[in-house]
């Protein structure tokens, strides 16, 4: 019972002289697996930097007065925190997963354009390091990650210039990656895999790639015009010269709302992979989950102005974007209910990957509910630009994307490294993260509703106690990464060896050795079942000896 039939002769060929050396990961390597790991490790490095900035921000906010860093530094920190977490952590981490997994999942030997792929990755470190260093030399951009003119034209040319430069480079990298994902998924599948047998991760990456290709060029246009205003003194967006700052907002959000889905769709895909494996049940409603990704991508393109309900937008526009935004709840609901039905009645292995995947559903749903509330114009008028929005976006991006990334890392860790993680430490990591996340962001809902605006270093003392809670929560979150880091590093070096398919999963990436050989598959696999046919077939299929260990698990007569 696996998805493939691989001639058993190939299993002996795995351990030839084609092993990866550690230094390959520091070179311009065209292997999608190396690039995937490069993306993931680089992104996690920036996650730690962005997290450190968050800790400083929360320390400042532990007291109502502006007394820990200077107000200018504070604005630099909040700008860089947002920019780094979005453009250097979640987006590239999703791209890293896609790079590693797509060719393996569809039975390809590499991505469609390996050289382009490597180029896309190597644009990230210089852009990211320049951006992060701007803080150390006292020239951080200070206008928030949204960088609205005219404020962004008045807070320091160097910092704003660095911000624009970094984003242009990161955007280009993202576009190159997206072209690669799309072409690979469409053109490189093994002949026996029609689109409706594709793993759901590939569906969601297809939707993600489309969004990147539609949205990012518009962001690039906005950034270039902003750069002209900043450096040459044109007035595209500067009202002092007759420009229109609202046009910038439209162009910015035309990318940056879809960016939310660019950040969360890959993890929707990952969750759709992880839940069936550890619940030992087929995914519930494959077609619905697959097409809902495309529906989300389509709707995600026509809702951008919900970020501008209190801005220069006329009433009819506000109403249109309200309805369009609310409608996204429908395909998102289809996914959430589909996931719940997938695990309902299953045999759940509550390992680290599964806990984070279930935790993802548990916290993401809160962000989804507040998202529908925020879509309602009259209510949004009250809470726009308040801590309610900060709470909402962190439930979506931390509860969604970060929980999803952790679930994915735990799930595919044996595949990537060939070793198993320590599940006890993984569970401790999950519990600390879950408590820390809710302690940090739950009080922010109330803060925003009660009247605390966002992006402020000093606040009304009546908000002190809730802010103290949030600060304690953020420290807990900082601490929670320690067990993860120790576990990941130790397990990578010394963890027990994993075989090719430790979870006894059906998708193709598990039907080769761990870590996979350089060319992924010695002989291209042939599909014999769907990706999630758990409990469906009881008869034994010809298993290669590499999977012998796990085969005993799968062939047992259950159900």
């Amino acid at each position: 019972m696996t998805q493939t039939e691989i001639p058993s002769s190939i299993s002996t060929a795995h351990h030839g002289g084609t092993e990866r050396k550690w230094w390959h990961y520091f070179t311009f390597n065209e292997d999608h697996k190396v690039i995937g790991v490069q993306y993931l490790v680089t992104a996690f490095f920036f996650y730690l930097i962005g997290g450190l900035m968050a800790a400083v921000i929360r320390t400042e906010l532990a007291t109502p007065a502006s007394d820990f860093v200077s107000p200018e530094t504070y604005n630099g920190l909040l700008t860089l925190h947002g920019t780094i977490m979005i453009f250097l952590w979640v987006v590239p981490a999703g791209a890293g997963l896609a790079n590693y997994l797509i060719p393996l999942m569809i039975g390809a030997r590499d991505m469609a354009f390996p050289k382009l792929n490597a180029m896309a990755f190597w644009m990230i470190p210089p852009a990211g390091i320049t951006l992060a260093l701007s803080l150390l030399v006292g020239e951080a951009p200070q206008a928030g990650w949204t960088s609205y003119p005219p404020l962004s034209l008045m807070t320091g040319k160097v910092g704003e210039g660095i911000w624009i430069f970094s984003l242009l480079v990161l955007g280009t990298s993202s576009i190159l990656g997206a072209i690669n994902f799309l072409v690979t998924i469409l053109k490189m599948r093994v002949p026996s895999m029609p689109t409706n047998k594709m793993p759901l991760f590939c569906w969601s990456m297809m939707a993600t790639a489309l969004l990147i290709l539609i949205g990012t060029p518009v962001l690039a246009g906005a950034l270039i015009l902003l750069a002209f205003d900043l450096l040459v003194g044109t007035a595209f967006f500067n009202p002092m010269g007759g420009g229109d700052p609202i046009v910038y907002q439209h162009m910015f959000w035309f990318y940056s709302h879809p960016a939310v889905y660019i950040m969360v769709l890959p993890l929707f895909g990952a969750i759709s992979e992880i839940l069936p494996v550890h619940a030992r049940k087929p995914v519930f409603g494959y077609q619905a989950i697959a097409y809902s990704s495309l529906a989300i991508a389509f709707l995600g393109c026509i809702v951008w102005a919900h970020h501008m309900f209190t801005s220069g937008t006329p009433a009819w526009l506000r109403m249109f974007f309200m309805i369009a935004t609310m409608v996204i709840a429908v395909p998102t609901g289809i996914k959430v209910f589909g996931w719940l039905a997938t695990i309902w009645g299953g045999k759940l292995s509550l390992n680290s990957a599964m806990l984070f995947a279930m935790g993802f559903v548990a916290v993401f749903v809160i962000g989804g509910i507040t998202g529908v509330m925020l879509a309602s114009v009259p209510f949004d008028i009250h809470v726009h630009d308040t801590y309610f929005v900060v709470a909402h976006l962190h439930y979506v991006l931390f509860g969604g994307s970060v929980f999803g990334l952790y679930a994915a890392i735990y799930h595919w860790f044996p595949k990537i490294t060939g070793r198993l993680v320590n599940e006890t430490w993984g569970r401790i990591h999950f519990i600390l993260t879950f408590i820390g996340m809710n302690l940090t962001f739950m009080p922010m809902h109330q803060l925003g509703l009660q009247g605390m605006n966002r992006r402020i270093a000093l606040y009304d003392p009546k908000f002190t106690s809730l802010n103290e809670l949030a600060t304690i929560g953020s420290y807990l979150l900082a601490v929670s990464t320690i067990p993860f880091l120790i576990n990941a590093i130790w397990s990578w070096a010394k963890g027990p060896k994993a075989d090719g398919n430790p979870w006894n999963a059906l998708t193709l990436e598990w039907q080769t050795s761990s870590p996979p050989a350089i060319e992924n598959f010695e002989v291209l696999p042939v599909l014999t079942s769907g990706p999630y046919d758990y409990g469906l077939e009881e008869e034994e299929v010809g298993l290669p000896t590499a999977q012998a260990g796990s085969a005993t698990l799968s062939s047992s007569p259950g159900a």
């Binding site: 502006s66 200077s70 200018e72 504070y74 604005n75 200070q142 928030g144 404020l151 420009g243 229109d244 030992r280 049940k281 087929p282 519930f284 619905a288 209190t310 220069g312 937008t313 006329p314 009433a315 609310m326 409608v327 709840a329 609901g333 289809i334 209910f337 719940l340 039905a341 695990i343 309902w344 009645g345 045999k347 759940l348 509550l350 279930m358 559903v361 548990a362 749903v365 809160i366 509910i369 529908v372 309602s376 114009v377 009259p378 209510f379 008028i381 009250h382 726009h384 630009d385 509703l449 009660q450 009247g451 605006n453 966002r454 000093l458 046919d533 758990y534 409990g535 698990l553 159900a559």
Partner: protein, 373 residues
């Protein structure tokens, strides 16, 4: 203990519904309601909280049941039942969100309409005409012009206008609001008052016309659930509301506008009629005669110059507001001692601005002396 699971499910459903309805009404998360708009929005929010709580409890409940009931027992290596979907179930959980979205959409639309979101007056303001006729107004005093008059070419309804009941009627009180780093300045064009805090009478239809001088700010009244971005340049925005509860309320800038964004705050005082009268008298008593003098000495042009004298009046007011601003920034600096040095710099920046204003002032006087020039 053999209760059929259908009864258990039904009991759980009833408990979930009751809990959601209770929490939707008793969450206590909103500040006091100081206007009818606030009551409308809170009604909408309570409905969304009820639905949201129900969905939350349903999802978390299912997850918890799975966690406990469906976890793998030691030694069990079998798979779960091979259920790949259920069309009718999928139709149900597609249709329910569709219905919820429709209901919330219609409800939100209705609330937005009742608040005055669709007011056509806000789209095209009749008072724009008088500005357009003045010679060289935009060059002479960009700050005042923007603050006191809507632009003639403005067609966007920015903000919240008259509610359907008050549509077409002039507001009881119109106040011009200017946002600048890091203060709000309130000008009462009909009364010749300028202040750093907003005073309005209770139960009167108040209309704020908002402009920014430097960057985008946002004018937020949490107790009134009202917020509107305030734009520099030619766009003017509007907020119209009727305070129903006397008291003192925060005015907050909600759009990042620079390092001291968090310090950009003021107060809204909703007065009883008597209190408001007292406040008006105290303001008028402080008013210098300068403005009236100019208006009356230029007799032949008195009608022509009326708008100018009105503007001058505001001009004077802004100087006073800047004084207020200085003291405000000073007190902020004392509260946030760390920021003191920077705040001093802010004071100086504001001083510079008031110098510019003085320059404008003399320009204007020249214009009045030689209207043909």
């Amino acid at each position: 203990m053999n209760i059929p699971s259908s009864i258990l499910t039904m009991l759980a459903g009833i408990a979930l519904t009751l809990a959601s309805i209770w929490y939707g009404q008793n969450h206590g998360l909103m500040p006091v309601e100081a206007s009818r708009d606030a009551e409308l929005i809170d009604g909408l929010f309570n409905t969304m909280m009820t639905i949201g709580t129900a969905i939350f409890l349903l999802v978390e409940g299912v997850l918890l049941v799975c966690l406990v009931k469906f976890r793998r027992r030691p030694g069990d290596t079998s798979d779960g039942p091979p259920i790949e979907g259920n069309i009718s179930l999928e139709i149900v959980w597609t249709a329910i969100p569709v219905v919820i979205v429709l209901v919330l959409g219609v409800y939100s639309f209705d609330v937005y309409n009742s608040m005055g979101g669709f007011d056509p007056e806000a789209a095209q303001d009749p008072s724009a005409v008088q500005v357009a006729m003045l010679p060289g107004d935009s060059e002479v005093m960009p700050l005042i012009e923007g603050a006191s008059h809507p632009m003639g070419h403005q067609h966007l309804a920015l903000g919240i206008g008259a509610s359907p009941e008050t549509a077409g009627k002039p507001a009881d009180l119109t106040v011009n609001v200017l946002g600048l780093q890091y203060a709000w300045i309130f000008t009462y064009p009909d009364l010749g008052i300028t202040a750093g805090e907003l005073h309005v009478p209770v139960n009167k239809d108040v209309r704020l016309l908002l402009k920014a001088q430097d960057v985008i700010h946002a004018f937020w009244l949490p107790e009134f659930r009202l917020k509107q971005d305030v734009m520099p340049g030619s766009l003017q925005s509007e907020l119209r509301f009727t305070p129903t509860r006397a008291g003192e309320y925060p005015i907050i800038c909600a759009e990042l506008c620079g390092p001291y964004h968090g310090a950009m705050a003021s107060k809204l005082y909703v007065h009883t009629p008597e209190e408001y009268e007292t406040w008006l008298q105290s303001q008028v008593a402080n008013r210098p005669d300068q403005v009236q003098t100019i208006a009356s000495t230029s007799d032949p042009n008195v009608n022509y110059l009326a708008p100018f004298s009105q503007q001058l009046n505001q001009q004077w007011g802004i100087d006073r507001a800047l004084e207020h601003l200085h003291s405000q920034v000073h007190s902020q600096a004392q509260v946030h001692s760390q920021a003191q040095v920077h705040s001093q710099a802010q004071v100086h920046a504001q001083m510079d601005r008031s110098m510019e204003l003085t320059a404008d002032h003399s320009n204007l006087q020249q214009l009045i002396a030689h209207p043909a020039a």
